[in-house]
């Protein structure tokens, strides 16, 4: 558990002079960092069955060493390392390393727990233990970087000083155009930001998305200049305010940083928290999130892109790790022997005490310590870890060979093969592309699958004994081979559709988009707004229908029906006019709804008239002003225009509405004389029955007038 030491700031000679001015402002608070030495996923399975990801060698040093070196060089003085999977191994490694020496400017506290399942858990624990006192740096144990974040840190502090802790996080991005080697396809993001304040307004992963969508509200923040950036690589380094830990506690459903970012951006208006970004042009910062990234990061390392972190600098300060640097980026450790006629083409790093036979051809590769390589071996983009034995006449392309593996004579490893720990392959076999061989039987996994949240690294010990001695398949791994083939590509997991567990990450297929592009219409409707699904009026109509139906079934009084319709009217924000029309059309439709569309006019009338009588009070409640009558009649007309076959019924319905005093004769006459605008409605008015009815009405009116006089 963490020893709470090192609170007082250390003598300033202890660290690099980079931090400068930012220090005093910080009231002598040492800069803290939270390093999460677990990936909480199984991307590197089965390799990480034997070694946690943070300890996997990259350029012959453990990945966590790069992360710690980065933290120390930016001026971090106190680091909390959170481990879960194989915590003991990480702890042992760290205790041995230079970071735990008393001279280290960076105090390391190792905190382990089996219970961490996600970044969220770690940060909630940070909050519970109140470990951080001020802004801190959040990184993963597999981040490789040489970015100088002191400038970003200053900006972050400045922002927090200026407006009262609104900014909770500054994400660090590295500029790199789409298609750059070090871009991780899975991590492809599009960020919308405010150009002036560098505030992140929208953050979206683009994987598998064809059209990027930016909600309008992000453009309402008062700025008049925005940027949409797709040329950024997320370095997975973030400067966080102490609130971040609290926010994780408050929102117990946040698991990853992406959850957090999404949550903050969506709730910006409510919580008032903002996220900013810092873009570096020349630094290097990536997270090794799959083997493809491992490949590109390793080659960048050998090509000295992370200067001052270089292979020969021996930044881990271990004894006997020094190596020499010669042209074409060839590095050789001490005690390396090279056979006659072997070629070191370029970009090669060879560890200590490794011997290479004659007539080999090696390029773009990293070879660990104490390896033996036979004659006539071809290595290209091969990552050979420690104590590996490779016999003669072997060819390896873009593959990873883990510790203590043996590759026998005449073996060919095609692209993207992985030989996990202690595997033996060969002789004379060629492994197809993407083969993964491990000493662990793939079935072992099933036992663990019970808990799908398990991180990379749970229970190791027991599984070994459980394995019944299964027989190695010589057809797969060769006559003398030892190891089981893991299914290439995703494991058995249908349930984990998220980034299939493929070690190598996504296949970089040529962007399918460019072909499909033309399938999209590029006409003016490109920007058209899609029609809204089911507008309120529709819903209201359904509801009214339901209400009436229920009223009929349960014999609800008309007053209550009116009440219900009124409340619906407010709920869906419907105007009185629309209520009128919808009510009329619903009632007129009702017989069809109940009995199907094939009613004869006489059946229809027979069904409708009792209903009208029953619901007359409802109508009367709404039909009051002259305009209401006309609206009602308009809806009536509309209904019968659609149901031409029922015109014979029309007069009867109108008649009964007149008799029930829903409609007044004056209004009916007005409608009849004025309303005709289209051919169809003119035709409707020519209907004989209707004309007769109107005629009758006119006469009645005249006679009533006469009576009146």
């Amino acid at each position: 558990m963490a020893s709470k030491g090192g609170k007082q700031s250390r003598p300033s000679s202890g660290f690099t002079g980079r931090k400068g001015a930012g220090e005093q402002e910080e009231e002598e608070q040492p800069l803290q960092a939270v390093l999460v030495a677990d990936s909480f996923n199984r991307r590197f399975f089965p390799v990480t069955k034997d070694q946690p990801r943070a300890l996997l060698p990259l350029g012959n040093a453990a990945m966590i060493d790069y992360t710690l070196e980065f933290l120390t060089s930016t001026g971090v003085q106190e680091t909390f390392v959170f481990c879960c999977w194989m915590a003991s191994k990480i702890k042992a490694h760290l205790l041995k390393s230079k970071w735990c020496r008393p001279s280290s400017p960076n105090t390391i506290h190792i905190i382990t727990s089996e219970l961490y399942r996600s970044l969220g858990d770690v940060l909630r624990d940070v909050d519970a233990k109140s470990l951080v006192r001020s802004d801190f740096v959040l990184v993963y144990g597999d981040v490789v970087s040489n970015i100088d974040i002191s400038q970003a840190l200053q900006q972050h502090r400045h922002r927090r000083k200026m407006d009262k802790n609104i900014s909770v996080m500054t994400m660090i991005f590295k500029e790199s155009s789409p298609g750059h080697r070090s871009r991780c396809e899975e991590d492809d993001v599009v960020v919308a930001m405010d150009s002036k304040s560098q505030q992140i307004l929208h953050y979206q992963k683009t994987q598998g998305i064809k059209k990027l969508h930016f909600p309008m509200n992000i453009f309402h923040c008062g700025s008049d200049e925005f940027e949409v950036r797709h040329d950024l690589l997320d370095s997975h380094i973030s400067i966080c305010s102490p609130q971040v830990a609290e926010l994780f506690t408050d929102n117990f459903d946040y698991q990853t940083r992406d959850d957090f970012v999404r949550g903050i951006l969506v709730n910006e208006e409510i919580l008032g928290n903002q996220i900013h970004m810092h873009v570096t042009k020349d630094g290097y910062g990536v997270r090794v999130s799959n083997l493809l990234m491992y490949d590109s990061v390793s080659s960048d390392f050998v090509r000295r892109w992370f200067y001052p972190l270089t292979p020969e600098s021996n930044f881990t300060d271990q004894e006997g790790r020094s190596c020499t640097y010669s042209r074409h980026n060839v590095y050789r450790g001490s005690g390396v022997s090279l056979g006659h006629g072997s070629q070191m083409v370029e970009n090669i790093l060879i560890g200590c005490d490794t011997s290479i036979g004659a007539n080999c051809c090696i390029s773009n590769s990293v070879i660990g310590d104490n390896c033996t390589i036979g004659d006539n071996v071809t290595l290209d983009h091969a990552y050979i870890w420690n104590d590996v034995h490779i016999a003669s006449n072997v060819a390896i392309r873009q593959s990873v060979v883990c510790d203590k593996a043996k590759v026998k004579e005449g073996v060919t490893l095609n692209k993207q093969c992985v030989l996990a720990y202690n595997v033996v392959i060969g002789p004379n076999i060629s492994l197809p592309e993407g083969t993964v061989v491990s000493m662990h039987h793939p079935d072992e996994e099933e036992d663990e699958d019970a808990d799908e949240f398990l991180s990379d690294d749970a229970e190791v010990g027991q599984s070994k004994d459980k394995t019944k001695q299964k027989i190695f398949n010589p057809a797969e791994v060769g006559a003398e081979g030892k190891g089981y083939i893991w299914k290439a590509g995703g494991l058995d997991d249908a349930e984990e559709e998220e980034l299939s567990q493929c070690l190598w990450g996504l296949v970089l297929n040529p962007d399918p988009e460019s072909d499909s592009e033309d399938s999209e219409p590029d006409d003016p409707d490109d920007l058209m707004i899609p029609s809204p699904e089911m507008d309120d009026v529709k819903v209201f109509q359904m509801e009214v229908m339901g209400t009436l139906q229920r009223g009929l079934e349960e014999n609800i009084g008309c007053d209550n029906l009116v009440l219900e319709i009124n409340s619906l009217k407010y709920a869906y924000n419907i105007s009185l006019k629309e209520v009128m029309q919808i009510l009329t059309s619903v009632v007129l439709e009702y017989p069809f709804q109940q009995q199907g569309p094939n009613l004869t006019p006489s059946q229809y009338v027979a069904l409708l008239l009792p209903l009208l009588k029953k619901w007359a009070p409802v109508f009367k409640n709404y039909v009051k002003r002259a305009q209401d009558h006309l609206d009602c009649l308009a809806a009536f007309e509309e209904h019968f225009l659609e149901q031409e076959s029922h015109w014979p019924a029309m007069v009867k319905v109108l008649m009964s509405m007149y008799e029930l005093e829903i409609l007044e004769e004056e209004m009916i006459l007005r409608w009849f004389s004025q309303g005709a605008t289209t051919d169809a409605s003119r035709r409707l008015r020519k209907n004989q029955g209707l004309q007769k009815f109107i005629h009758w009405l006119e006469e009645a009116e005249e006679s009533s007038e006469e009576d009146g006089e």
Partner: protein, 448 residues
């Protein structure tokens, strides 16, 4: 001749009807010059020798009588009249004069007052062999109180969203806020090609366009487009990223029966723009120049249709299409020409104050004890004794009787302001007469 200039001067000025009631917009006096003098002068300054002016009969008549136009404009003007009543859009007007157009064109609106270095726009057009190059400027806040407008002016105006690439020159998309209720969506392929897109709001379109001749030909076949700004430009901007030639063929076959075919086939012509295309193509292939960084694809990602925009960061750029802009333009316009603010033929008595920021037109008579500050007095106006004119625009042949106090107002031609009238932030219509001792306070209109 590389570019033919076209001046669009047939607009009615529908957003400032108070002013254009009697004077058509192109002839409104700004700094005692007709509005259309400014774009003409802009063209002349950069060496155009000919211009096609599209306008109405009425304006043509006024032009022929206006002395300023005759004297100052030395360019050869070819006036084409369009019917006044028909609502002819700018694109319709271009279609109207298609016969006269032999080369690429530069279209200017008559209400543009700017000191832009015009070559900036044209250079973009040339350098990128663009289909469209246009001018935009940072929008100005009009701070002055506007006569006849109560309270704060419209803040709820819809913003235009303009997307440009990293260099700030390539126009990637354009949309109005009103069309973006559902949010802004951008195809990923565009983002991939232009990974860093600046989205700007608060820009005004100066309505100055360089267009390829092919676009005019395209217009003649595409009768549905009637306005340059409203339809043609958005169409061109969008077309930049649609699939080109080969897929077009397929599409054409599919949509044979629809009228879209028409659209597509003309689009072909739109792409094959200039006669020395093969040579340019070759030059582009052989050159190591590229318009973008990051990926290895060819310049412009193979796109043939390109739209560019020059955004003025500073300098003068007004579109005189509202009253507020008109007032502001009057204030700023004198900076654009180097004439003495007081015309030599004006008669100004010795005992009056005329600020150096005021303009006095020809044959004006300014009597004693008057004070004129930050104002424009039009031709043949008569200002009597003890008059105070501040912050106002007085058009031609206006008579201001003794003792008037006029502040922040616009007084149209031929008006007579009675003795001792007090006008504050008023707009006095053409030929109106203000009663003596009349007191007209803020925001009142006088209009026939």
């Amino acid at each position: 001749m590389e570019l033919q200039a076209v001046l669009m001067a047939a607009g009615g000025g529908s957003r400032m009807t108070d002013l254009t009631y009697n004077t058509p917009k192109p002839m409104l006096p700004v700094g005692n010059k007709p509005l259309m003098w400014y774009p003409l002068n802009l063209l002349e300054r950069v060496g155009f020798e000919e211009v096609i002016v599209i306008t109405t009969k009425e304006v043509q008549k006024m032009m022929s009588t206006d002395s300023k136009m005759k004297r100052d404009i030395k360019m050869k003007m070819e006036v084409v009249c369009v019917p006044e009543d028909g609502d002819m859009g700018t694109a319709d007007a271009l279609r109207h004069i298609q016969q006269k157009i032999k080369t690429d064109i530069l279209v200017v609106s008559c209400d543009l007052i700017t000191d832009v270095a015009l070559h900036e726009v044209v250079d973009l057009f040339r350098a990128h062999n663009a289909t469209l190059a246009m001018l935009m400027s940072k929008a100005h806040e009009f701070t002055e109180t506007v006569p006849g407008q109560k309270g704060k002016k419209r803040t709820a105006e819809q913003r235009d969203f303009v997307g440009v690439d990293q260099s700030g020159k390539r126009l990637l998309f354009m949309a109005n806020e009103a069309d973006l209720e559902d949010g802004l969506s951008v195809r990923k392929s565009i983002i991939r090609k232009h990974p860093r897109m600046h989205i700007k709001t608060g820009l005004v379109d100066a309505h100055l366009y360089c267009l390829k001749k092919a676009v005019v030909d395209f217009l003649t076949e595409n009768k549905s487009i009637s306005s340059i700004r409203g339809e043609l430009v958005p169409y061109l901007v969008r077309k930049q990223f649609s699939k080109t030639t080969n897929s077009q063929k397929v599409k054409e076959d599919l949509e044979d029966q629809t009228q879209k075919k028409n659209d597509c086939s003309t689009n072909h012509e739109l792409l094959i723009s200039s006669r020395d295309e093969p040579l340019l193509q070759l030059a582009q292939e052989r050159s190591c120049w590229n318009d973008h960084r990051g990926d290895m694809s060819e310049a412009y990602h193979g796109g043939k249709l390109r739209c560019y925009v020059h955004i003025m960061e500073q300098g003068l750029c007004y579109r005189v299409n509202t009253l507020a802009a008109y007032i502001e333009a009057n204030r700023q316009a004198p900076k654009l020409f180097e004439e003495p603010p007081v015309h030599p033929s004006a008669v100004i008595s010795e005992r009056c104050q005329v600020g150096s920021d005021s303009i006095i037109g020809e044959r004006c008579q300014i009597a004693e004890k008057t004070s004129i500050k930050r104002s424009t007095i039009g031709i043949s106006s008569n200002v009597k004794e003890k008059v105070k004119v501040t912050n106002s625009i007085v058009m031609h042949s206006v008579t201001i009787e003794e003792g008037c106090n006029i502040q922040g107002s616009v007084i149209c031609s031929n008006a007579i302001i009675g003795r001792g009238a007090d006008l504050k932030y008023c707009l006095v219509g053409n030929g109106q007469r203000i009663e003596p001792e009349g007191k007209t306070q803020q925001h009142e209109h006088t209009q026939s």
